[in-house]
Amino acid sequence: MVGSGILKGLAETARNFVGSYASEERMTTVEYPEEKLPRIEASRNFPFLVFDGDDWHAGMRCVSCQICEKECPPKCIYIEKSTDKKPDAVGKLQNYPARFDIDISVCMSCQICVEVCPFDAIKMDNAFEYFATDRFGDLVLDKQKLSRSNEYYHQIHPTEAANVDAELAAARAKAAPKPAAPAAAAAAPAVAKPAAAPEVTASTANKPAANDPAKESNG
């Protein structure tokens, strides 16, 4: 009879209406600022520069090889090489970026810079609560604003960071026999932090980062 389909539909919405009070998992939404969804480990947002140790400038892994600048599809990275050299994460003397800017109003979070970086120096952040008051100044991040500690990297992407550290340690071990590697030893403690369980769902990096320049610079 005409109308039975409508009644069935009404029953369905009524079931959902009652169900929304009965079962929490039905709810599509969460009350955002108070309640946050668990972070998914792989999620990415904007790139940052990893540094080892405590001094962001001394520990910066980037050697300003400018590969990311060339490969970046929207061309949002701008690098100037330094004229002098400093030891890199492995201990080799390398250039460092005199200037490293990322225009995050142009960046489209594609992760290609991370993929092409041979030095594991640039990684993807997953902080998303950005805001800026100055449309022009605040959206171009310089290298200080971009740098994050290796600990922070471990916090947001534990599995990936553990792999990276293992690779770096191997590279360092290869480089170690050669005598001039005092910087490598200094950088070594960065490996200390144990990686969280490599479970995709489990990562809930809600604790404030130990050294989280993103919050300071944007807050």
Partner: protein, 384 residues
């Protein structure tokens, strides 16, 4: 009353020989039902459409030109932004074309991952399309919210795999960017297993509803002949009764390994088009179950293919896949340099709009809205 004399009502009416009896309205680009910044210039006689001209280009950013100035890899994230609902199938289409051009073999596991992600994409695209269509019919968002509830679960899966919910940028020439993370497959199995429950709910809510039947049956009819001639593809073509699914015809990837059926409609109206989507979701679930059962271990990408400095030999290739909206093709010409000499996207949304006027003439405004809704367009792809 002098203030009102500045804009006579005659200006609202078309100046035609028959005396100004037609009303010309511009639906869009800011209109709640045009699925983005799409515009239709509609001429109405009363509420009957007597002329309809789509106007494109509000979202045009010359994607093809950008890609021609970009490396082969650099275009991959831009393909995400074509049909921003289905970035993974866009990735696949582009990767497929490049693989054809450069003759790259894709490892088995990568093929399975591609099928899984593509079918998940199809699920979320179809579910939300049906939701949007109901929204166009005025259903206060309830079906759309149900669809989004399920879509959210699939997007979480995408995020865990690729790092992004919509702009995945996941596939690479010769495979995928990264392997499935630990535990992902079990999670995906759970999502897929709970999906039929949602489909049942959706169908109870929608399929028997007399109002939906009355609104959609016999509306926006597209004949089989016109559909073929106009190059309509995807569910819209199959709703007109043409058995043409690239997963069956081209058997690209590893689709010949899965058993699934292709639903076909007989009337080619809006009702058939939306039922096609509902039925295709069931079939996609079948493919997903098989793929997730059979997925082998192994490399997730072809190790011989370089990420950087990728220069295919000169030549050209056209690769196409069955995207949720229809046939998505990429045509590439290489001149041996790191950038493609010519990069062309064959957007299903745009070509499916070819027949919009044919489907809408003689119907009224409300029918135009749902006919457009049933075409399933995304303006990122239409305008590129």
């Amino acid at each position: 009353m002098s203030a009102t004399a500045t804009l006579p009502p005659a200006a609202m009416l078309l100046d035609s020989e028959e005396g100004s009896q037609y009303l010309e309205i511009s639906m869009g680009p800011h209109h709640p039902s045009t699925h983005g910044v799409f515009r239709m210039n509609v001429v109405l006689d009363g509420e009957t459409v007597i002329k309809l001209k789509p106007v494109f280009g509000y979202l045009h950013r010359n994607h093809e030109k950008i890609a021609e100035n970009e490396t082969y890899l650099g275009s991959m994230p831009y393909t995400d932004r074509l049909d921003y609902f289905c970035s993974l199938t866009n990735n696949w289409g582009y990767a497929l074309a490049v693989e054809k051009l450069a003759g790259i073999e894709v490892p088995e596991r990568a093929e399975y991952i591609r099928v899984i992600t593509a079918e998940l994409t199809r699920l979320q695209n179809h579910a939300s399309l049906v939701g949007f269509l109901m929204q166009d019919m005025g259903a206060s968002g309830t079906p759309l919210m149900y669809a989004f509830r399920e879509r959210e679960k699939i997007l979480d899966l995408f995020e865990a795999l690729t790092g992004a919910r919509m702009m995945c940028n996941y596939m690479r020439f010769g495979g995928c960017r990264c392997d499935l993370p630990a535990g992902w497959l079990d999670w995906a199995k759970k999502v897929v297993a709970s999906f039929p429950k949602f489909l049942d709910e959706f169908e109870t809510l929608l399929v028997g509803n007399e109002i939906i039947m009355a609104r959609t049956q016999g509306v926006g009819v597209l004949s089989r002949e016109l559909a073929i001639s106009a190059g309509i593809t995807g569910p819209m073509l199959r709703a007109s009764g043409v058995n043409y699914d690239l997963r069956k015809v081209d058997k690209y990837g590893i689709y010949d390994r899965f058993s699934f059926r292709v639903p076909l409609g007989d009337h080619g109206d809006v009702y058939d088009r939306y039922m096609m989507r509902l039925l295709e979701m069931r079939e996609s679930l079948k493919i997903l179950e098989q793929a997730m059962k059979d997925i082998p271990e192994g490399p997730f990408t072809d190790p011989k293919t370089k990420v950087r400095n990728f220069r295919p030999k000169p030549g050209e290739a056209y690769g196409r896949i069955e995207a949720p909206k229809g046939e998505l093709g990429y045509y590439l010409i290489s001149d041996g340099s790191p950038n493609p000499y010519r990069y062309r996207v064959r957007p299903p949304s745009l070509i499916n709009l070819t027949v919009l006027e044919d489907m809408c003439l003689g119907r009224n405004v409300a029918d135009v809205v749902i006919t457009l809704g049933s075409v399933d367009i995304v303006l990122g792809e239409v305008d590129r």
